[in-house]
Symmetry: D2
């Protein structure tokens, strides 16, 4: 079968022919139809420091996807051949204390498809039946393929109440853009997007941001104070991973407010914890993955009810053979989300 | 009346004779009987950078105290002369959006007695009636005088569930020592105290710590991993304010666990947010003051029910005239909590 | 001044001339411009059993209103003459343990304006400054006059998360109609209104209900099971106060779901607690009044942001002199909400 | 193997010889060592109305137990032969929306061992590996055998914060007695037991109740009001299932407090919802089973840390052959908890 492969421990990826995976009795085989390219895939492409420490080639990449079930293991009850599905790509142990208390998203034994084992940039992928999510008919293939990053955004935005609140999104990559739309759909009174790139600010506006601020031109903190009678934003979602973004997130949050950190800074960040977290009485939450499976059900409900349209975030659609064009578009900042087709 | 005064903008304090304060129609006059010396008082004594930026001499110091009401303003209904009381020393506006939604502890207009207006190291202090807390008969004067720092510890420890959990306290000054006792009283399964000074570790053991670790000798992180089947502590209370303490707090907390920051670092702290907060899915809470007045009622209930004995934390008792001995004992690390008597 | 008065212990009300109220140093005098008629006012009009046990004539009625501040007491800081305001009509003691822990809405000393002391169906009303809520310019007089019942609906609907959920509203009087709109604005995936009267179902549809069910024709429970893949509604708001409505609320709620009871049944209700509450693991919440003042701030934010339009609920507007027409329209089921004008 | 069997659709039970169960690839076979008799077993013994509607003889009874793993299915990873274990006896589907969002305890597909399929009053029982709970060495066989009803009590008491609170337990059967001990261990300031039988009140006192009230002699409501400065209990756990117990639970709870219903009333109960739930702003929670597996981990932590001693609740220990003596002791009210031995 076709697969986008990291063939060996060096930069680059190749479209290769690899064997179709086998499935165990609790697993499911999926014929992949659509897959999204993630920033993580770019790290692996470039064979950066993180990749060198974690990835064991040869490896099939890809963790954002949807497709059709073609085969189920002998003990599988909840999924059948022909089902149209997406899947949680974090494979967890299921029996540690975290998994047993609703915290699978931080299971220490987590393995990620496309990172720790073969992934979904391939004609077929094998997934444990526990991780399968059926897709309602009203949700398109392209949108269902993005449940993984969209779920990151849902996990972040809905971690505490946003209805009637002022929500600020710091950094408008694909997940930040999703977050803007989710905050609007969940009844935020005001959604503020903070993003240096003009085209991303335009996409944020299309996703429903009431106000788009460029941190490079003018004082974001003052602008938000003015808008909020001096209080600051009730909820701030940090999605840039930039040290300045992190510090801005803490600064623009109101006393007693909520900051959620999703963007991943490289290395340590200097934070004035006394002034910006302790004296302000902030609640800070580190967001990793998606709640299993609360986030997935919320996401499905929002999309199936038509509360949210993620279409503006998909800027490129390409057949799998042209994946390198997608990578290039992302690197040049032209693309928000690139969806690959494997039909 | 007698008062410990910062007479002018320079190091030092003096016992002075100052006029008795007047009270407004919504205020109460209290004859102070006991008062505790706080680290904040030492900063003002030394006239450090923070003090120089905030304190306006002449100022009567002191914010930890108890006494007897001697006079009430004309509109006061809930307090009467003769009542034995303590008081919340953070005076808040009462009508901002934070005050109106149960977040008075982070009211932007907060004024602190002994910092922003005359305090309780004096024979009399004037306090708004809203801030007065009656003291049950079963709680001693000395203990009631410490409701302010004890309330910091209650606010920190009880912010989320500790019953049956592993709780680690980083830094065993007076508030850390209180926290050890509160965690035990609230049903923590294991309480771990982390503290470099041996005599503080001994006090922590007397307050009920199951395990006292010296960060200077041996690997705290490994010791806690061993004790917790590799998971880490469920709840970590950072009470040292030291950058290493903060980083330790994040490192020893289990995935999905709770870190509360109370100790105030000077300046910025470098934190590896990706590794230590985001990938771990931590909940972090900045603790300032006491919840008004949930914390006060919890604290009263615990002490009145005899769930907690804070006596070991009081190492020195002195008449107000000998306050400088108390300050010296604190600076030399001999004292945990010093209680001044004004009888 | 003009006032709608219960002159003595007998059925009926009269428009009377009464003295303008005096204000204390912590109070505010408001020139009333608009006021809403509540079902409670009808009970007092008819002098029913409840009224006979509680009301002490002579009494000025009315607790839903807005107006302009004309005078403030000497100690009032947060309100000024000329301010356009509404007010919380539940006057609480402010110093009991419930008031001190964010539960003023259940203060045992609560006094209600228009019930326990003179109310707002008058040219002027005196209110404690703590209870005053400023009205943003974008909210009309008529809508601001309804903050009291609208706040009941906000308190009910937003008690737990509704974004992406199935929300059922049992009973579509004015508060139920508000609840439909609030659930939509807060991102509910599906809003189901259950109401026997056709015109109310039409109003519910105008407020945004996806589905309006008539309990008199067909099986509500089955209809909701069909719509929810057999699970039932995630959140059910009982606003009819009818015993059948209460039982329906429990029956249509999914296992582990949330039922909030706002409608007031007369006397006891038979509930199969084992089958309908315990085996289902339900969360039930009794809703009284509005959270002080979280609900008020949420409500202001929703209306000011244009998330919700309550206009369809106002079916009648009358000058105060014609209040009896309003009462008649309510009794005949013609009116949803009647707003009186006192300009 | 030996088993306590309901052989056919009629009153009575018999000790029979039945085949050892087979296990599937995701299951575990356990050699049972200890088992507790539950009130449910008595219902089945008597073949009451509920039993006739649900039980399909022949059936091996028993759902409270512990033992040693003797065999594991081919796909089982988290359990091994020789492990000392207890198990959750509610077998859930694992893939419905409730199971996937941490609400397995209300899975509509729940099957209970000893009720819907063969149970643990037998030398061997087959259980899905997901349901297995390892037992720490410090917890005795007898105590580990009671994790099922003890877990009901943990689920009830720890549903919301009890540290520093007044907790009332209505009904002191075994689960009520456990609840008394748990509330004490979790730092309740005052624990009040309400129970008509003197010997049960004595056991409640041994479990740590500060106050034991007999509802038959004196006014429970007034006694609790006196003890709580008129407020009522913060948390009330209803464990009698008696209609009067239920009504008492609502009456003695403070405004804004928490009532948890665990005891199962037969048929409908009349409740004055307006007066006792809505005007009081109560939070009511229906308790069924144990949270999977938060409750189990909490319970293990409490017992392993020695926070709680359940020994007083075990009044009878009998070999399996004498199970009818155990049933008789329970029926005559002589027994609290009866533990059967199968060594």
């Amino acid at each position: 079968m076709r697969a986008i492969l990291k063939p060996d421990a060096a930069p680059g990826l190749s479209l290769a022919d690899v064997p179709r995976p086998d499935i165990g009795p609790n697993e499911v085989l999926i014929r992949v139809r659509r897959a999204g390219i993630c920033g993580t895939d770019l790290h692996i492409f470039h064979w950066d420091e993180w990749s060198r420490g974690r990835i064991q080639p040869p490896l099939v990449l890809g963790h954002e996807f949807m497709g059709e079930v073609t085969e189920v293991g002998g003990l599988v009850e909840n999924v059948g051949a022909g089902d149209r599905v997406s899947a949680e790509g974090h494979l967890v142990c299921g029996h540690c204390e975290l998994c047993r208390t609703g915290n699978s998203h931080v299971c220490p034994e987590t393995q990620i498809i496309g990172v720790d084992r073969d992934g979904a940039f391939a004609d077929f992928v094998a997934i444990p039946a526990t991780n399968i999510i059926p897709i309602p008919g009203s949700i398109s293939d392209d949108h269902a393929a993005l449940f993984d990053p969209l779920g990151n955004a849902f996990h972040t935005v809905l971690h505490s109440e946003v209805a009637g609140r002022v929500v600020a999104i710091v950094g408008c990559g694909p997940i930040g853009l999703f977050a803007v739309g989710i905050a609007r759909a969940a009844g935020a009174a005001t959604v503020i997007a903070i993003e240096p790139h003009e085209d991303r600010r335009e996409l944020a506006a299309r996703m429903g941001a009431h106000l788009c601020l460029d941190p490079g031109s003018g004082d974001v903190e003052t602008a938000i104070a003015d808008l909020t009678r001096g209080y600051g934003a009730d909820v701030v979602c940090e999605m840039s991973g930039h040290p300045d973004g992190v510090r801005t997130a803490f600064r623009i949050c109101r006393n007693g407010g909520h900051v959620r950190l999703l963007g991943l800074p490289k290395g340590s960040v200097e934070v004035d914890l006394a002034r910006d977290v302790i004296f302000k009485g902030l609640h800070v939450y580190g967001v990793i993955g998606r709640r299993m499976y609360d986030t997935w059900i919320e996401m499905r409900n929002f999309l199936a009810a038509g509360l949210l349209d993620i279409e503006p975030v998909i800027t490129h659609r390409l057949p799998i053979e042209r994946f390198e064009e997608g990578i290039a578009a992302m690197e040049e900042g032209e693309a928000a989300k690139v969806v690959l087709s494997l039909d």
